[in-house]
């Protein structure tokens, strides 16, 4: 008598297993039970169905004819009520009792639903089966949809709906999309491609609540208060193996249903395949290993020897126009090296992770033609030591020349602005070169490009080099660091003209040679990005020097110094008492008066910082930014309040200036001074910006220094009122922020661009500069101490204390 086989679940794995069984004419009487009211279809092709590239009929793998042909009995739209493993029977929800000799679980997985308030509203769905797909397809153009989850499934859902004209926003909790498969750089390129398709992408976004109206979803509320209106909300945040039935039947279950190498569960007559299983600690969500399992299960059922072995897997995103590939392991582990290749012009990014001369992982974006070759290297553990130098270029590469440092500029479109001062685009420079301007001077003369502030000189030279080839000899320029062939000025122009708003964007578009920069370029890029895109760019503390990361000055023994702000150098008895109390409480070894008219508490332990700040905050004091490349102090004399020579209220102006400017980040430190008369007791003429009060108003001068170089300021402008003085100072500060090289103080920057250029810009663009300064200050004019006390005090304490832990 033929043995009876019952299969629970018509998914991709069981479908493949059934094919293998009928092909080999296995001696089984088969019954297939499925909860969905249909048979096996190609679930991974739901995305093309959603986007309209395929019809449902095209993705059906087995139709009714097929089941009939192979005499497979079907129970579709039917659920298993319980399993009696002793009697070896399955009872369905229709009350039917079916005996079996062998049973196969293919119960798949359930979408994970975040238990946010409102998750049970109508219009909140997962993306799992044809019903979900149909609801997305039914939404119709001009409706709004929010997708929670920026992984494979979420992005396919988003792209599919966007292709149907739906207004889609993707909300992702992590910093970049598909973080499990992609690194930051590839995540950036993917995001850019999706944004180009009209999909809004919000990363580092925490969902708080799903808002509804009359029982239907209305919007998603993020924990930063943003409300994203939507008619449909798709949760695509992951899947969990569906083990309930197996658990209820008493099978061994962990994350999934435990199976051995033959796909047999803890019961010798029961097998399991697909997303519901756990094999050797791993669970499976991609199709390749599921097919392997299906084959092994079929062979086991037929009494043949077979063994399931976990293999490397690769991922490709099924979104038209987003060509990306990820395989193997590109994280974790010691002794690994990176090979990175970027071609900004074509939007190509490739990264290989190598250990012991073997490729461990690969991430590719933009051009994945060679992905199978790389995947082969990973899978076969090929020794690549002989081809290491040229490996990254792929299999077709033979010998060849080194990477072209001019690639980034060569890739710029003709309408890319090169010279911001004079509005000159790359095309105009190329035309000038074609008309005979073959050196920098000639280009400058005919187009004015690089003729004003001069910061784009490097880019103009590169356009010359790209256009003229060997006929042009590039002058040696100081590049930022070993990570790039570009200068600070080049990169700043690229950030502005190409609207680069994140570090991975800069690394990619400017052809960075390392995966994540270094201690030289990262602080500079962090400043450039936050100065140019205050709203769009999020400050990255990990790219800041320790003093700016921990808002205190590190000392040679690893302790810190703490300097509270004293506005304009004015303090009160209460503030002094609070400082004295703090010095006692935290056993501060040295208390010193600074040159900037403040009090420095030296020798504070790193872990005490949040506590001492909280105490100083409680007395009304905030960070003095004595550690920052930003506004430090505004030094003042006593002015008309007390001094018999004072001409204006210099103390009052100093306090006002400090209250307007504090918290702002600048290329280097920024010190101000306000003296009440030309006797200059506040030493304003050796500050970065100095104000000398005179009877008729205020002389604002810039470019002083009293450090390694000693410089006297030069007069920029004289104005009649305090308000004008404040505006002029804001304008010149913003001009400095937008144009200077990182770590150039004003006098160095002035030496490059000239005082006349600065005067002209402040005069003609003053109000716009002030407005941009104020926009930036709306983010940065706040006390970092209070913020850190509230949000990250833990980070200052030891990660663990093992002082009492025994060695054995």
């Amino acid at each position: 008598m033929r043995q009876k086989l019952i299969v629970i679940g018509a998914g991709m794995a069981t479908g493949r297993m059934l094919e293998a069984l009928v092909e080999a004419e296995a001696d089984y009487d088969i019954t297939l039970i499925n909860g969905e009211p249909r048979g096996n279809y190609n679930r991974i092709m739901l995305s093309p169905v959603l986007s309209g590239e395929k019809a449902y009929a095209e993705i059906v793998t087995h139709d009714d004819e097929w089941y009939k042909l192979y005499k497979i009995k079907t129970r579709f739209g039917c659920f298993v009520q319980n399993i009696d493993r002793e009697k070896r029977t399955v009872t369905t929800d229709a009350g039917e009792v079916l005996p079996y000799d062998k049973l196969v679980f293919g119960t798949g997985s359930n979408p994970f639903v975040i238990p946010l308030p409102g998750h049970d509203l109508a219009g909140v769905i997962a993306y799992r089966d044809l019903e979900d797909t149909q609801r997305m397809m039914d939404l119709g153009p001009a409706h709004k949809c929010v997708v929670i989850g920026g992984g494979l499934l979420g992005l396919e859902a988003a792209a599919g709906m966007a292709a149907r004209g739906v207004d889609v926003t993707v909300v992702h909790i992590m910093g970049h999309l598909m973080e499990r498969q992609l690194d930051e750089a590839a995540g950036y390129l993917l995001r850019r491609a999706l944004v180009d398709k009209g999909i809004a992408v919000k990363c580092t976004a925490n969902s708080k609540e799903i808002l509804g109206e009359n029982g239907r979803v209305k919007a998603l509320l993020l924990d930063d208060g943003t409300e994203l209106p939507c008619d449909l909300l798709v949760m695509a945040v992951g899947i969990r193996p569906n083990v309930k039935l197996a658990q209820d039947s008493g099978l061994a279950v962990g994350k999934g249903i435990h199976v051995d190498d033959q796909m047999i569960t803890s019961d010798a007559d029961v097998l399991a395949v697909g997303e519901c299983v756990e094999h050797d600690g791993a669970i499976f969500g991609l199709v390749a290993p599921l097919y392997d399992q299906a084959k092994v299960a079929a062979q086991t059922l037929m009494g043949q020897q077979a063994q399931f072995v976990q293999k490397e897997i690769s991922t490709k995103l099924k979104v038209t126009g987003c060509d990306l590939f990820s395989a193997g392991d590109f994280a974790d582990g010691e002794g690994r090296e990176d090979i990175v290749f970027r071609d900004p012009g074509r939007g190509v990014y490739r990264r290989l992770v190598i250990a012991d001369n073997i490729v461990k992982g690969a991430v590719m974006y933009g051009d994945t033609a060679d992905s199978n070759w790389f995947f082969g290297l990973i899978r076969d553990k090929t020794d690549i030591s002989d081809m290491r130098d040229t490996l990254i270029f792929g299999p077709a590469y033979q010998g060849g020349t080194p990477l072209d440092p001019l690639a980034a500029v060569a890739a710029l479109p003709r309408d890319a602005e090169i010279c911001g001062c004079n509005g000159i685009c790359k095309g105009q420079i190329e035309e000038a070169i074609a008309a005979g301007a073959t050196d920098l001077g000639a280009v400058r003369l005919t187009t004015k490009a690089s003729g004003s502030c001069g910061t784009c000189t490097g880019l103009v030279e590169q356009v010359l080099a790209v256009t003229l080839g060997d006929e042009f000899v590039m002058p040696a320029a100081a590049v930022i660091c070993g990570c790039t062939d570009m200068t600070h000025e080049d990169v700043r122009r690229m950030i502005k003209s190409q609207r680069l708003m994140s570090m991975p964007a800069v690394w990619q578009e400017c052809g960075w040679k390392t995966s994540c920069g270094c201690h030289v370029c990262r602080p500079a890029l962090n400043f450039y990005l936050l100065a140019d895109w205050p709203l769009e760019y999020q400050d990255d503390p990990q790219s800041r020097f320790i003093n700016e990361r921990k808002h205190a000055n590190i000392q040679k023994d690893g302790t810190f110094s703490v300097v509270p702000r004293m506005w304009g150098g004015i303090t009160t008895p209460d503030e002094l008492r609070a400082i004295a109390d703090a010095a006692d409480k935290y056993a501060v070894p040295t208390v010193k008066v600074t040159g900037g008219q403040r009090i420095d508490l030296l020798g504070v332990k790193g872990e005490d910082l949040p506590d001492i700040w909280a105490d100083l905050n409680a007395a009304g004091m905030v960070s003095g930014h004595a550690y920052s490349k930003g506004l430090r102090t505004v030094k003042t004399c006593v002015g008309t309040d007390h001094c018999r020579f004072g001409t204006q209220d210099s103390t009052g102006l100093g306090i006002k200036l400090e209250k307007e400017l504090w918290g702002s980040w600048t290329p280097h430190k920024l010190k101000l001074g306000v003296s009440g008369c030309p006797r200059n007791c506040a030493e304003a003429t050796c500050k970065d910006i100095g104000v000398i009060c005179v009877d008729s108003g205020y002389q604002v001068s810039i470019g002083g220094a009293a450090g390694m170089d000693v410089r006297e300021t030069e007069l920029m402008v004289q104005v009649a009122t305090e308000d004008e003085a404040i505006d002029v100072i804001k304008a010149v500060t913003q001009l400095y922020r937008e144009n200077a090289k990182y770590l150039d103080r004003i006098y160095k920057w002035m030496g490059k661009v000239g005082l006349d250029w600065i005067k002209e810009r402040v005069e003609t663009e003053g109000p716009a500069l002030v407005e941009r300064f104020e926009l930036s200050q709306s983010i940065y004019r706040k006390d970092p101490w209070a913020d850190h006390v509230q949000t990250k005090a833990d980070r200052y304490r030891p990660l663990a204390n093992l002082s009492l832990e025994a060695a054995e």
Partner: protein, 115 residues
């Protein structure tokens, strides 16, 4: 035989960052790279004992906050023209937790600590 001590959840150390661990024989710096690898090193630069946990982490290196020596997180060796080495200790991540081998405590009591 390895005996791994569960130190803390991985997320308690920022990416491209570090935190410090106190032991009876001085401090250890635990680093987390952009790729979520973890490394444990003596928290003292071979140059002037600068606290490496406060440095900028890039690739698999850290730059000392005092005088910009670049130290390899994998070998503890100073990079470039500088010469010196700090002790490294086995560290790994499992189920989202940072684990250190208890042997490192033993190594330190035997005088494995950099002066």
């Amino acid at each position: 035989m390895s005996d791994w001590i569960d130190i803390a959840p991985l997320e308690n150390v920022p990416q491209r960052g570090a935190r410090m661990i106190k032991t009876a024989f001085g401090c250890i710096a635990v680093f987390r790279t952009a790729e979520d690898e973890v490394f444990a090193l003596e928290n003292a630069c071979p140059h002037k004992a600068g606290p490496l946990a406060e440095g900028i982490v890039h690739g698999k290196s850290v730059t000392c906050p005092l005088h910009n020596w670049v130290i390899s997180l994998e070998t503890g060796e100073a990079q470039g023209a500088d010469e010196g080495r700090v002790a490294t200790y086995p560290a790994r991540v499992e189920n989202g937790s940072i684990l250190l081998d208890r042997a490192f405590l033993k190594a330190r009591t035997k005088g494995g600590v950099a002066a």
